[in-house]
């Protein structure tokens, strides 16, 4: 009998828990620890943020789903790992603090045989003064954030209907942000909705990003075969913005946000500012701040976690220049190099380095996109980690299944306007996610499997994915047949 504890119930953690329950025997325990009571299909938060969906339509409560499938659920946040146990109890354990109503603040130690850290990111709004909900900018990172953003957006539309002009700034709130795809998606959806409400002529939309070029998306951009040319993704992205009348500012590190004004620094080390009536600026990510202690109670956090707070796994973390980055630097099994029964899945693992070429201005400020880890790789990683753990419980001494992001493809569909007949979306497929210049010397990717296009078909796919993945996450009949 074994007990597997999963920290986090996002795309990666929930996938891992679901497959563990499916593959493990009834005598084995699967325990999920998550501070939130619901599952959120994050890609659809964009539509909540422009008022097309209610937050309830992108979430569902986890407890009933887990109860009916034999998964134990603890609504709590993880505080610290005790991978060697303590002098009093040698079992590896994680200390948690309950967030469930009636138990708030209560602490408990949960013993485990295997632990998957799928805690995702901490939304590090604090990295930029004045950034984030409750301060001077908005976000679509959580359903609540997106709902509040929609409220402000619809309020601005009402004012524009009365003749006022407004400026919307959408983008990244720090020089080291990731998730530019989400910011891009929000910008074009917002613009589409302004047209749908008949107020486009009253609005100015500005995309403000840390990307070196538009369409970088933290992947160093992609190249696609198009009309007889190999075309970089910035052409496609600039084209869409130009067509929609969206202005853009790239290579920007937002360092301060005030009421109606953002201050940013450029790669040329110039200080600039932009005023706005509404700003949706994404935060940079960090690890959630888990600590780790040995049996004696000594802090071993630096042994288990990188300085960013993300967990170290089987990657090559040696610092080296961009030219020496290799596809094989990226992890395959997501196992801690020092603790065999500890894994990290999804955003919680520490990437060995960025994917985009790093840029630092003369003041030493880094301004480039951090590596993306979207839904598809997060779910795939959750599944292979679950498979490896099942095999190790059955006697294996090491992980059996791997999924390197340098050997894995990803499909990303970014909505560019939601309407079943006039809406569009940018569909992008890349293979592999992390470029492998040894295998594909010219561009790092296989151009036969890398594509991007804008059209109504992409919007239909986005709707299909919304319903299909929520169905899958609810563990409805046949859920495991739906690919990650």
């Amino acid at each position: 009998m074994a007990r597997v504890v999963i920290l986090g119930a996002g795309i990666s953690g929930h996938t891992a828990a679901s497959f563990l329950r499916k593959w493990l025997g009834k005598n084995d325990d699967v325990v999920v620890v998550s501070p939130l009571p619901y599952y959120n299909w994050i890609p659809s938060n964009i539509w909540v943020g422009v008022g097309l969906l209610k937050s309830e339509q992108v979430v569902f409560p986890l407890a009933p789903v887990y109860r009916s499938h034999g998964i134990e659920f603890k609504q709590a946040r993880a505080l610290a790992l005790y991978p060697e146990g303590t002098d009093a109890d040698a079992s590896p354990a994680v200390e948690i603090e309950w967030t469930q109503e009636g138990k708030v603040g209560q602490r408990e130690r949960v013993a485990y045989d295997f632990l998957i850290n799928a805690t995702g990111p901490r939304l590090n709004f604090g990295a930029t003064e004045g950034l984030g909900p409750g301060k001077h900018s908005l976000s679509v990172c959580t359903p609540d954030h997106a709902q509040e953003t929609a409220r402000v957006f619809l309020e601005q539309i009402e004012r524009m209907k009365h003749g006022e002009r407004k400026r919307f700034v959408v983008g990244t709130g720090h020089g080291t942000c990731t998730c530019e795809g989400a910011a891009f998606e929000y910008a074009v959806n917002l613009e589409f909705e302004l047209r749908a409400h008949g107020v486009r002529d009253k609005a100015e939309v500005v995309y403000l990003s840390n990307e070196y070029e538009l369409g970088d998306f933290g992947m160093d951009g992609v190249r696609i075969k198009r009309s007889g040319y190999v075309t970089p993704s910035n052409i496609l992205t600039e084209s869409l913005f130009a067509e929609r009348g969206i202005d853009w500012i790239t290579r920007a590190h937002v360092k301060k946000v005030e009421d109606g004004r953002a201050y940013y620094e450029t790669l040329e080390a110039e200080d600039r500012e932009i005023s706005f009536d509404m700003a949706m600026l994404l935060p940079p990510f960090s690890g959630v701040g888990l600590k780790a202690f040995d049996r004696k109670g000594e802090d071993i956090t630096p042994r288990v976690f990188a300085p960013s707070g993300f967990m170290k796994v089987d990657a090559d973390y040696q610092q080296k220049p961009y030219e020496d980055w290799r596809a094989r630097d990226w992890p395959r099994y997501y196992q801690s190099p020092t603790l065999n029964n500890l894994f990290a899945a999804g955003i919680a693992f520490a990437p060995p380095h960025a994917v985009s070429r790093p840029h630092v201005n003369s003041r030493g400020t880094p301004i480039f996109a951090a590596p993306p880890r979207t839904g598809m790789p997060s779910a795939t990683i959750g599944k292979v980690v679950a498979r490896s753990i099942v095999d190790m419980i059955r006697g294996g001494d090491k992980p059996t299944h791997g999924a390197s992001m340098a050997e894995m493809g990803a499909a990303c569909v970014a909505s560019a306007g939601s309407n079943p007949f006039s809406g569009t979306a940018a569909s992008m497929i890349v293979f592999p996610i992390v470029p492998d210049f040894e295998k594909y010397p010219e561009y790092g990717r296989d151009l036969d499997y890398t594509m991007g296009e804008i059209g109504l078909a992409g919007h239909w796919i986005k709707i299909l994915l919304h319903h299909m993945f929520l169905y899958k996450a609810r563990l409805r009949p046949g859920w495991s047949l739906i690919p990650e």
Partner: protein, 60 residues
Amino acid sequence: MSEPVTEYAQQKAQMKPAFYATKPTGITLFMRTFLPWQIWRFVWINFKMLVIIRKSHRSN
């Protein structure tokens, strides 16, 4: 917005002019929402995605 025109002009100058970007022609825009073509693209993109998923899982 109540801000001086000079600042607005300054900020416009900070932005890359869309003038230099590639823009879609009328036929490209038409094809983006032309139903028969988009139904075909729906099938093709889904097929491509399935190929990628299969290729990714093969490396596991």
